[in-house]
Amino acid sequence: MKLLVPIKRVVDFTVKVRVKPDGSGVDLENVKMSMNPFDEIAVEEAIRLKERGLANEIIVVSLGPAACQETLRTALAMGADRAVLVETDAELEPLAVAKLLKQIVAKEEPQLVILGKQAIDDDSNQTGQMLAALLDWPQGTFASKLEIAEGKATVTREIDGGLETLELPLPAVITTDLRLNEPRYTSLPNIIKAKKRPLDTLKISDLQTDIAPRSKTQKVGAPQPRKAGIRVNSVEELVTKLREEAKVI
C-alpha cells in the first residue's frame, strides 16, 4: 500500500509571531520555520503503518517555496521514502492546496492520504475535507487512533463527549489529531540517509490547476496584550473583587 502524506512548512510553535507593520500578514523574516506539528503526527503514523507491514511506500509532499525542501528532508529523516515539492511562492488557500493535492493523488495513486487536521499558522482545518470531497473519497477526520485491515480503515475520532469510531473503505483521507501518536526523534544516520532519498520538484504549471485565491485578506492584527494581573491579599478580597469589579460571580 502506498501512503501520501502532505506536509506544510509553518512558523515554529516556539516562535512568538509578529505582525507586519502594514497589517498585511505575519512577518516571516528570519523566523524559525518547521513542519506543522499535526503533519508530523501524520508522518509518524504513516511510518508506524509501514513498520507494521501495512504499507510499503511513504511519499511526502509539500507545496510552497524552495525552503520547503528542508521540511521534506525532516520527513525523510523520520522515515518517509521519497518526497515531492510543488514549488511556488504564491500564497495558497486550502482549496488551492486540495486541488493541487488531488493532482498529486492522481499521479501517485496512493490508497491512503494522511495529513494534519489543520496547520498551526492559519488554523483553517479545511484541506483534508476538501481533498476528500474533490476525490470523492471517504474521510476520517481528527483521528486519535487508526487501524488498517482488509482494505478498510478504522478511525477513532475524538468528538465532544466521547469517541466515535468510523469504518472507511480504502482509498480514504485521514486527518490527524494531537493524541494519535508522539512523533519520533530522528537518529543521525537517518538524517544523513535522508539527504540521499529522492526529492522531486514540480512546478504549479505542471499540474494545470487554478490556484487563484477565493478570499482576500483584509487586515492582520496582533491580539490585545493582556493587562497585568493584581495580587490580592485574602480570599475575601478575591471574592469581593470577582463579584463587584469583574462581576463574574
Binding site: K32, S34, E182, S187, L188
Partner: protein, 693 residues
C-alpha cells in the same frame, strides 16, 4: 642449591608458564589495540606522565585518599610485593647457583638489610592478606561487591566470580610468601643457626627444630614459593590482579591537550561530524570504545570506590560505575580469543554491561572518575553509550524528546520563545546588550535558566544589580544567546550540542575576540561555565570564563562590594560542574566570608567529595530513574544536618533541585539561595546600616 633434576624440571615448567603468560598478555594487548583512536593525547609529555604515574603508585596516595585503613593494609602488600620482585630473583639465583656465589652478601650491610627486608615484608604481606581475606569473607564489607538489586551484573559475577578470583589470589599470596618464609626458616634450621636479620624465619626455625635434615623444608619452601609463581602467572593475566601492571600504566594515560596541559573531567571527547564516513555514533559494541576505555577494565581492581560515591547508586538506582568496568572485564575475558583474533564482539555492550535505567541514571557528576584510584574514566563510557542510544538508535527517555526538540527549535530546554529571552530584566534594571555597550569589559552570559526560570531569574537580576552597583562595565548577548548545549551533550545528543555550540561560538567570537581585547565572560550557571570554558575550545572558542562567585570575590577584594556579614548559619553546596569538574572551591567560600568563618559550616561531603543535587547529565529534564530515594533529598538532608539556616548554591539547577526536595518543603527547613542573592541582601543591609538609600 637445587639438584640437577630439580633445575631441569623448573626450567621446563618455566618455559611452559612463560608461553601461556605471554599469550595472555598478547591477547590483552591485541584487544586494547582494537580500540578507537583518542581525541586527546595519551602519550605526549612522556617524562611527565611516567613521573606522575610513578609518584602516585609509589606514594599510594590515591589508595589512601578515601580509605585510609584499607590503604594502610594495601600498602603492606604493595611495598611487600615490590620488594619481593627482588627476593624472588635472589631466591631463583640461590636455587640455581652454589651458595658461595652469594657469600659476599652474607653479612654485609646490604645482605643484612636485604634479608631483613625479605623477612619483614614477607610477614607484612601475610598480615595484609589476612586483613583482606577477613574483610571480604568474614566482615563482608558492604563497600565491596554489595550492589543494588537492580544493577546488571555479568553472569560470571553473579555466580561469585569476584570472590573466587579473590580467594585464588589470596591463597597464592599466602602460600607463596608463607612457604618462602618456611624455606628461609628451614634453611636456618638446617644450618643450625639463628639470624637476627630474619626474625620471622628464626622463629620458624625454632618451631620446626634444628637439624641438617631440615634442608628438605628449604626445598619444599623453594618449590612451593617459586613453583607457584609459574602456576599462577598464566591465570594472573586473566584475573583482576593484573591491575598491579595495568593500574600504574593507566595512571600515566590521562588526557592531555596538544600543549601538554591536563584535560579536566568536565571535558567530553567530541565526535567529528565533518567526517562523513562515520556511520556509528557513540558506542554500541566493545570494539567501538576508545583504547583507554578498553584499558580501564584491566586497571580496575573492583574496589567499588566509584560506586560508593555514585549519587545514583547511593540512592538505590541501577547504576554502579564499577559494575560497568567489571562487566566489561568479564565479557572481554569470555570472548578474548575471538576478539584478539580480529572477530567482532558477539553482543552489544548494553546487553551485559549496563541496563537502560542505569544508563539514564547517571548525573554526569564525575564522582566516579575522581574517586577512582587508578584513573579510569567511567563517565566517558556512559556518555558514549548514550550517544549510541540517542544519535544512532534514537531510543532514549521520552521526556528528553521534548527537551531536545525545545533546544532545536527554541534554543532553550524550556521551549520558551527566544523573543522572551530578555524578559527577566524587567523595567527597573538597566542591563545593556552588546549593541548598546560595545566597550564592555565583562560579558554576562545569563544562560537559559537565568533568562526563563523564575527562581534563576531572581539570581540573574541580583547579579546584574551587583554588577551595576560595583560599576562593572558589562553587557549581555541577549537574544543572540542560546543554550550552550550542555544538557544535549551530557544527554548523549552530541549533534544537537554541536549545532548549538557552533552558533554560540560564532556569536561569542564576534562579540569578544574580533576587537582583540581581553574581555572576560562571567556566568551564573556552572553548566554554562563548563561549556564555555571546556567544551567550546574544541570548536574554536577559547574564552576567559569566570563563575559569578569568582567575579564577586574579586570585587569584594577590590573593595567594590562590602564583605559578607552572615547573620545565620550557612552551608555551601559545591555544584559538580563548578567544583569537581573545574576545581573552583575557594571563590564561593571567600564570598561567604572565607574558610574559618564561624557561621559557614561544611557538609560532611564537600569540595571534591561533594554530592550531586541530581540535576546534571540531563537529569533535570527527565524523570529520575527508579531507586530508593531522590538524589536531591539525600543531599538536602545532609545540608539540613549541619544545622544551617541557609543552603548557599552557586548553580540555578542545584538551587531548583534542592529547594524542590521533599525535606525542603517542611516548615523550618533551611532556605536555598544563590550566592548572588546572599550578596545582594548583604549589600542591602550594609547600605541600610550606613543609612544609604
Amino acid at each position: 642449591m637445587l639438584t640437577l633434576p630439580e633445575k631441569a624440571l623448573f626450567f621446563i615448567l618455566a618455559v611452559i608458564s612463560s608461553y601461556y603468560t605471554y599469550r595472555g598478555f598478547r591477547q590483552i594487548i591485541d584487544i586494547i589495540r582494537k580500540g578507537q583512536p583518542e581525541y586527546y593525547s595519551r602519550f605526549n609529555r612522556p617524562a611527565e606522565r611516567v613521573r606522575e604515574a610513578l609518584l602516585r603508585t609509589i606514594t599510594q596516595i590515591t589508595v589512601f585518599r578515601d580509605r585510609p585503613v584499607v590503604g594502610f593494609f594495601h600498602s603492606f602488600i604493595f611495598y611487600g610485593f615490590t620488594f619481593y620482585a627482588l627476593v624472588n630473583l635472589a631466591d631463583l639465583i640461590e636455587g640455581f647457583f652454589p651458595p658461595g656465589w652469594f657469600a659476599w652478601l652474607g653479612n654485609s650491610v646490604v645482605g643484612n638489610f636485604f634479608r631483613l627486608g625479605a623477612d619483614v615484608f614477607g610477614a607484612l604481606v601475610l598480615i595484609g592478606v589476612i586483613f583482606f581475606v577477613w574483610r571480604r569473607f568474614v566482615k563482608k564489607d558492604a563497600a565491596l561487591e554489595r550492589f543494588n538489586q537492580a544493577v546488571l551484573l555479568h553472569p560470571d559475577v553473579r555466580t561469585g566470580g569476584i570472590r573466587f578470583d579473590s580467594l585464588i589470589v589470596a591463597g597464592f599470596i599466602f602460600l607463596h610468601v608463607g612457604f618462602r618464609l618456611f624455606g628461609a626458616g628451614s634453611l636456618l634450621a638446617a644450618e643450625g643457626r639463628m639470624d637476627y636479620w630474619q626474625p620471622t624465619a628464626t622463629i620458624i626455625a625454632r618451631l620446626v627444630g634444628f637439624g641438617p635434615h631440615r634442608i628438605v623444608g628449604w626445598h619444599i619452601g623453594w618449590w612451593i614459593s617459586l613453583g607457584l609463581i609459574l602456576a599462577f602467572l598464566p591465570y594472573f593475566v586473566r584475573s583482576k590482579h593484573i591491575h598491579i601492571f595495568a593500574a600504574p600504566v593507566r595512571l600515566g594515560l590521562g588526557r592531555r591537550g596538544n600543549t601538554g596541559e591536563k584535560v579536566g573531567s568536565g571535558v567530553l571527547d567530541p565526535i567529528n561530524f565533518e567526517d562523513e564516513n562515520i556511520e556509528q555514533f557513540g558506542v554500541a559494541q566493545l570494539e567501538q570504545f576508545r583504547f583507554t576505555q578498553l584499558f580501564d577494565p584491566y586497571a580496575c581492581i573492583q574496589c567499588n570506590r566509584c560506586t560508593n560515591m555514585c549519587p545514583a547508586h547511593v540512592t538505590g538506582k541501577a547504576l554502579a560505575p564499577s559494575a560497568l568496568e567489571i562487566n566489561k572485564r568479564y565479557e572481554l575475558n569470555s570472548i578474548r580469543s575471538k576478539l584478539a583474533a580480529g572477530e567482532s564482539s558477539p553482543r552489544p555492550v548494553m546487553e551485559f554491561a549496563l541496563s537502560d535505567s542505569a544508563l539514564w541514571a547517571c548525573t554526569a557528576c564525575g564522582a566516579c572518575v575522581h574517586a577512582c584510584p587508578v584513573g579510569c574514566e567511567q563517565l566517558s563510557d556512559i556518555i558514549d553509550l548514550r550517544r549510541d542510544a540517542v544519535l544512532t538508535k534514537a531510543q532514549f527517555p521520552q521526556e528528553l524528546n521534548n527537551t531536545f526538540r525545545n533546544l532545536e527549535r527554541a534554543g532553550n530546554p524550556w521551549g520558551l520563545a527566544q523573543d522572551a529571552r530578555e524578559d527577566w530584566i524587567g523595567s527597573d534594571l538597566h542591563v545593556p546588550r552588546i549593541s548598546q555597550n560595545a566597550d564592555f569589559e565583562v560579558l554576562y552570559w545569563v544562560g537559559c535558566a537565568g533568562a526563563y526560570d523564575p527562581s534563576a531569574q531572581k539570581v540573574a537580576r541580583a547579579f546584574a544589580a551587583i554588577l551595576a552597583h560595583a560599576k562593572v562595565n558589562f553587557a549581555i548577548l541577549g537574544k543572540k544567546e542560546k543554550c550552550t548545549g550542555d544538557p544535549a551533550r551530557r544527554g548523549g545528543n552530541e549533534y544537537l550540542y554541536y549545532n548549538l555550540a557552533t552558533e554560540n561560538v560564532e556569536a561569542l567570537n564576534s562579540a569578544l575576540l574580533n576587537d582583540g581585547t581581553t574581555k572576560r565572560v562571567v556566568t551564573t550557571c556552572p553548566h554554562c561555565f563548563n561549556a564555555l570554558a571546556n567544551d567550546y575550545p574544541q570548536l574554536g572558542g577559547s574564552y576567559r570564563v569566570l563563575h559569578h562567585s569568582q567575579l564577586i570575590a574579586e570585587l569584594i577584594r577590590e573593595g567594590r562590594l562590602p564583605e559578607m556579614i552572615l547573620s545565620d548559619k550557612i552551608t555551601y553546596h559545591d555544584p559538580c560542574y563548578l567544583g569537581r569538574h573545574n576545581g573552583v572551591y575557594d571563590a564561593p567560600r571567600r564570598v561567604l566570608g572565607g574558610d574559618g568563618t564561624e557561621s559557614l559550616v561544611e557538609m560532611p561531603r564537600n569540595r571534591e567529595n561533594s554530592f550531586c543535587c541530581g540535576a546534571g547529565g540531563a537529569q533535570f529534564w527527565k524523570e529520575e530513574e527508579p531507586g530508593t530515594m531522590r538524589v536531591t533529598e539525600n543531599r538536602f538532608r545532609e545540608a539540613e544536618s549541619t544545622g544551617a539556616k541557609v543552603v548557599a548554591a552557586g548553580c540555578p539547577f542545584c538551587k531548583s533541585m534542592l529547594s524542590s526536595s521533599e525535606s525542603a518543603g517542611k516548615t523550618g527547613a533551611p532556605a536555598v539561595l544563590d550566592i548572588a542573592e546572599l550578596v545582594m541582601e548583604n549589600l542591602r543591609q550594609t547600605r541600610q546600616r550606613l543609612g544609604l538609600p
